[in-house]
Amino acid sequence: MTDVIVPNDMWDDDREGVIVSWLYLSGATVTEEEVLCEVMVEKAQSDLLSPASGVLTIVEEADAIVSRGQVIGRID
């Protein structure tokens, strides 16, 4: 089991971001390195890449406010 975490280097400071959209629903099979969701900090949008391959469970839905290091999903 691997946590899907908002990378610490996704942006530079302690601001909060928001999940704009997930590219998969819970239960979907995902592959390592592919884009899982889009996260936005103010005007800058970044792609969050999958840390592993497996079945995704979404913990934080779209529109959720997130911080760096936060767990937003799981891959089994």
Binding site: S21, Y24, A28, T29, T31, E34, D63
Partner: protein
């Protein structure tokens, strides 16, 4: 690669561009702010890194010039994709679009082809003012010589982009800014996101899609207004048990008049919603197409919900008032049917 992805319109369109550029060296993109910036509305995000500055070509602010240049490159057998961030800017390059790109194929009697795509960002609703919020698709649709597509969802966006790039004709690809699903304009519209296959696929031009079937009235929308129709239909169903059929033409030129006529023959009622200025435009065209074929299929007058030909005001209450929102579509239907 997984096959259960749900993409935004912008991402899906970009995927098609990426695939075509990887597989066909004659495809290249040009426009303002495409290379480093990735396009003002995310149309070229990441492409610069992937393909380099020569194939993702930043141009100066010279729309007439670079649309003319793209036409020449197309005549020479390349497949340029021109990125024109705001459809409002067709004002400065209308000649290049309408007299040059849209005419060479016909005037040469087919000796030259113009396999060019013109991507345009259209529409508003986010307080960007009268010169950066127009829809204007009808202004182009009025002129012969260009295929015009306006996808409302990610699945159509990718398929139509593949079709547009592969086509030997001049194709105008109208992206609506809110439908694109980029973060700059809030959360993506849920109904614009769709499951998109990994592999490339095409959607034929001139083929409409039935978004949902119904029996009481036909809604025809374009791009953003398809989603307004969906929202209004949901409310009408819940509140009045009304059964609404929604048609998304997907291609505006050539228009799938058959699909629209078939639907109205079934329901007997027609409402057309368009973000563009109402007069002399899409809504009138759809209605005329039905009425001139057989006016007796209509049980009540057709309705148009569009911008009532005013310049788009900046202030929120005024801007929202002139847009063909779900509320306006809902109220127009209630009034028509005396619900």
């Amino acid at each position: 690669m997984s096959s259960e992805r749900i993409l935004t319109v912008a991402r899906a369109g970009r995927e098609a561009v990426m695939w075509e550029m990887k597989n066909d060296p004659s495809v290249f993109m040009l426009g303002e702010d495409v290379f480093t910036f990735g396009g003002v509305f995310g149309t070229a995000d990441g492409l610069g890194e992937m393909f380099g500055a020569e194939r993702i070509l930043d141009t100066p602010i010279s729309e007439t010039g670079f649309i003319g240049i793209a036409t020449g490159a197309a005549m020479a057998g390349m497949r340029p994709i021109v990125e024109l961030a705001f459809i409002d800017f067709i004002g400065v390059c209308f000649n290049a679009i309408a007299n040059l790109a849209a005419k060479h194929q016909y005037l040469s009697n087919g000796q030259v082809k113009i396999p060019m795509v013109l991507m345009l960002g259209a529409g508003g609703g986010y307080n960007n003012g009268a010169q950066h919020s127009q829809y204007l698709l009808s202004t182009l649709a009025h002129m012969p010589g260009m295929v015009i597509v306006a996808p409302s969802n990610a699945y159509d966006a990718k398929g139509l982009m593949h079709s547009a790039i592969r086509s030997d004709d001049f194709v105008v690809y109208v992206g609506q800014k809110k439908v694109a699903g980029i973060g700059l304009l809030g959360s993506p519209i849920k109904t614009s996101m769709a499951a998109v296959p990994d592999e490339p696929y095409t959607i034929p031009f001139g083929e409409a899609r039935v978004v949902q079937e119904g029996t009481d009235i036909t809604f025809v929308g374009v791009s953003w207004t398809v989603h307004q129709c969906i929202q209004a239909a949901e409310r009408l169903q819940k509140q009045y048990g009304l059964s609404v059929e929604i048609i998304d033409p997907r291609t505006i030129v050539p228009l799938d008049r058959e699909a629209i006529f078939k639907s109205v023959s079934k329901t007997g009622r027609l409402l057309v919603a368009d973000e563009d200025y109402q007069d002399f435009g899409f809504t009138g065209e759809v209605i005329a197409g039905v009425v001139e074929r057989d006016p007796t299929i209509l049980k009540s007058p057709p309705i148009r919900v569009a911008n009532p030909n005013v310049n788009i005001p900046f202030s929120r209450p005024m801007e929202q008032r002139v847009l063909p929102t779900a509320d306006r579509i809902f109220e127009a239907t209630v009034a028509l049917l005396n619900l």
